[in-house]
């Protein structure tokens, strides 16, 4: 079980010689730590909520394409299939209307 220095928080594995000599910060008191995880493991376990999926709840969608970032797009397939007109929501929240699609001759 790893040990953490009570003074600086540095973690030492069980049996580490530093435990006998004392911590590099000069601290000589250590306490047991249960289940220390790597920072990468902790980060990987955090559920990242995609803001693009939640921020528009309850909002009426008029945009057929939403630009989230450079190279990332949300496509509203239902609107694209039902309507000829293409409305693009840019990442700054402004809208662009694709005029040729609005004036497309109905067959």
């Amino acid at each position: 079980m790893p040990h953490r220095c009570a003074r600086c928080g540095r973690v030492y594995e069980d049996g580490d010689p530093e435990m006998l000599k004392g911590c590099s910060c000069g601290g000589k008191k250590f306490f047991y730590v249960k289940g220390i995880k790597n920072l990468e493991d902790v980060i990987s376990e955090i559920d990242v909520v995609d803001e693009s999926d939640t921020e528009d709840e309850g909002k009426e969608h008029v945009e057929s394409i939403k630009m989230l970032n450079d190279g990332s797009y949300n496509l509203n397939l239902d609107l694209l299939l039902r309507r000829d007109e293409i409305i693009i929501e840019k990442k700054d929240g402004s809208y662009a209307l694709h005029l040729p699609s609005f004036f497309k001759k109905k067959s």
Binding site: I65, L68, G71, S72, Y73, N74, R82, S107
Partner: protein, 211 residues
Amino acid sequence: MGMWSSLRGRFSLWVGKIFGRRSVKIGIYGPPNVGKTTLANRIIRDWAGEDVGVVSDIPHETRRVKRRKDVKINVDRSSIKLDIVDTPGLATKIDFRDFLSYGLEEEEAKKRAKEAAEGVIESIRWLDDLDGVLLVMDATEDPYTQVNITVIGNMEARRLPMLIVSNKIDLPTASPVKIIEAFPQHTVVPISALKGNNMDTLYDGIYEHFR
């Protein structure tokens, strides 16, 4: 749009049937990486001896619609002439970061994402000019996806003849039954476009649905 283009399509099909010379325009649709281009290549190779497009494991390989005219398919003693329209994959979200794991550079991945988004719109535009749709699904994946459900609902509203193709049945995890159970109102044909399994059943289905 839906009712008129449907009537026009049916009239045009009927005229073609009477005079027996018009090709039936069939679009191959579905999400990315379900094997649409593999299927288009299989059909065209079987009956015209050539390929229509490049196949790869990276999603959104096909980003422009590709069309091969006058592919004549013989079924029993009859035949049907098809225009095969291979379309880019339909998706609700396209993120360049998904392509980075395939070894693409960031700029290349962003360009691919942009072209893929344009490809979705081009695919949808083509629906107005088609006589029928082959909707391809991956038999190893859950069929209850937003793309599948949205596309099927819209095809039904357009009254566009549609055949569901359950592809990749050569893979051990394939479960075409799931697709059959998910969409019982439609004909589902399980195939492997890659291996050529059950293609005769698909050709029979194409003839029955789209002639």
